[in-house]
Amino acid sequence: MSQYRLWIIWIIGSIYVSGLLSYWMFFSEDKTQFLPGDTSYAHYQIELKCSACHEEWGEVKQNACMDCHEQQMENIHDSHPKTKFNTPSTKKMLKKVDATRCVSCHQEHKPESTDHGNVSQPSDFCWHCHDNIAEERPSHEGVTFDSCSTAGCHNYHDNRALYEDFVAKHLDEPNLKEAPVVEAKEVYKKIVKIIQAPLFPGDVAVTEELMREWHDSAHAAAGIDCLQCHRTSEKDSTWVKKPNYQVCMECHEQEGQDFQMGHHGMRLAHELSPMTPGMSRSGLEFKRDAKHKELTCVSCHSSHEYDVQKAAVEACLKCHNDSHSKKFSQSKHNHLWLKEKGGTGLVNSGVSCATCHMPRVLKDVRGEEKIVVEHNQSANLRPHDIMVRQVCMDCHGYEFSLKSLADEALIQRNFIGQPEVDLETFDWVRERNK
């Protein structure tokens, strides 16, 4: 083959490869080819939306992390905010670990060096700045630095359930409090009107069952008829057969925003297709027939029924099939849940999946503080003590709660039994507060 021909092949080949790469880079949704490595469990859902974190040419956006996590850091009273390291005397510390940059500890696309909690620093990283802790706290003499955050004592960011005065305040509480109930949620608006006959175009087929579901729902009670959701827009009444989650967000904005912050909904926030159990890399088991179920508002609330009790347990168990989920039906929590549902238990005394994973929390909703359901089901999962303070302590003593969530086997059994983990924290706090 002549040299001339080789050159032609080389040029055509180069143009073809460049074209293909350019297409993937700028036009295709599938950017798998450019992934330098798997992302962590926190971000794998959006790993193909490069622009969520990167500038067009690859560099990490200036505010990539805080664009999503700033409010969270504010809410959890971050123990190590960037502002803590703002003087020349902290420069020495920053040379060891630059704590002013999220990516110093949370690297992405490096699964081989990312540990539990998405931390890409060695587990004894606290040592860099707290190497003399035993001088300040003699009780810490001999304690290894890899146990700071693994023994249920400290977290780097969120210590709301672990700081000493909080522990001291809640020492020796009974395992189960008197009259254990969770917070009651508040409704947004009073019912505006009762409508008997919904409006829909004559050529739309509506079954009797659909009508009954709608009629018994809070939507009917609030005067929300078919067209309110099924219209194209406020000005265009053209019928939309399957309204998307954005229609729900016209009224349920807070819930929608929270949902998009969690693992169930974060793909929607980045204009990707809805999450499905089949996409999960969480390590959790899912039901075989649920692998392709898409997660939007109607996945849990159904299209017309909006039964929040079904959404609180049955909806979860349609997909989740891990040991913790499977044991729920035999748990004391479920027993209380069934009693409340059956009308024999106290109001808000039942414990559903949502009670713990989508708790009732105080939020600023349109300028008004209200107790609403947290629709980001990932918000209190890690570290466990967020849930302890947010939910468990409504009904249980602090020590019992913290020990229970430190007992992985007990979690797998859905809290059937007693915690068998001992946490030294309590002894140390007792000693110092004698």
């Binding site: 003087t87 020349p88 005397s89 020495k92 300040e136 005065d165 507060n433």
Partner: protein, 191 residues
């Protein structure tokens, strides 16, 4: 060619005169010494905290809102004056004001607020004078020279004394009113 040379010489002359004028006008700007600058900053910092303590905390106490270390976490609580100072510092530092400041002490509740070796000598001098004198010096950190000023932080209210004397992490529990409890360290990078 002659014309071009004349043009270039005249142009260079004009530029020289213009630069002289700029230097002259710049030199007319009043200069502030590092010491005067840090003195002024310290007055503002201490005044703001005193205003917070006397006007806001005192008023809130009457309304049943008490200052607390855990003010973010507890209902009906507000910042301790020292935390107010720190909160202002965090906002100021995020705006890169060209200087740094911190509240430190030889006997801090949080050991991270201990002075470094250089500052410690300054703190001792301030304490020896009973808070009558400030300390001024120069320190180099990582190749950058800083003008360092330390201003005494004196116990002005029983709340300061009681809180430090009763706190389980306080390394000193015999503070008295009007005694030096710590100091404000202001650090200005030197040109």
């Amino acid at each position: 060619m002659k014309k071009l040379t004349t043009f270039l010489v005249l142009g260079a002359g004009c530029l020289f005169l213009a630069s002289c004028d700029n230097e002259e006008s710049a030199s007319k700007e009043p200069t502030v010494t590092y010491r005067k600058m840090t003195d002024a900053i310290s007055v503002v910092l201490r005044s703001d905290r005193t205003a917070y303590t006397k006007n806001i905390v005192a008023r809130l106490k009457k309304e049943g809102v008490m200052p607390s270390e855990h003010w973010k976490d507890e209902k009906q609580k507000t910042l301790l004056p020292a935390q107010m100072f720190r909160a202002g510092q965090e906002i100021a530092m995020s705006r890169d004001p060209g200087f740094f400041y911190q509240l430190k002490s030889i006997w801090p509740i949080n050991p991270k607020n201990l002075p470094n070796e250089f500052e410690k000598a300054g703190f001792e001098k301030v304490a020896e004078s009973g808070g009558a004198e400030n300390f001024y010096g120069q320190e180099e950190i990582d190749g950058q020279k800083y003008f360092v000023a330390i201003y005494p932080d004196v116990a002005v209210s029983p709340a300061c004394v009681d809180c430090h004397n009763e706190h389980k992490d306080s390394p000193r529990k015999d503070f008295k009113m009007d005694e030096v409890m710590g100091g404000i360290v202001i650090r200005v990078p030197m040109e």
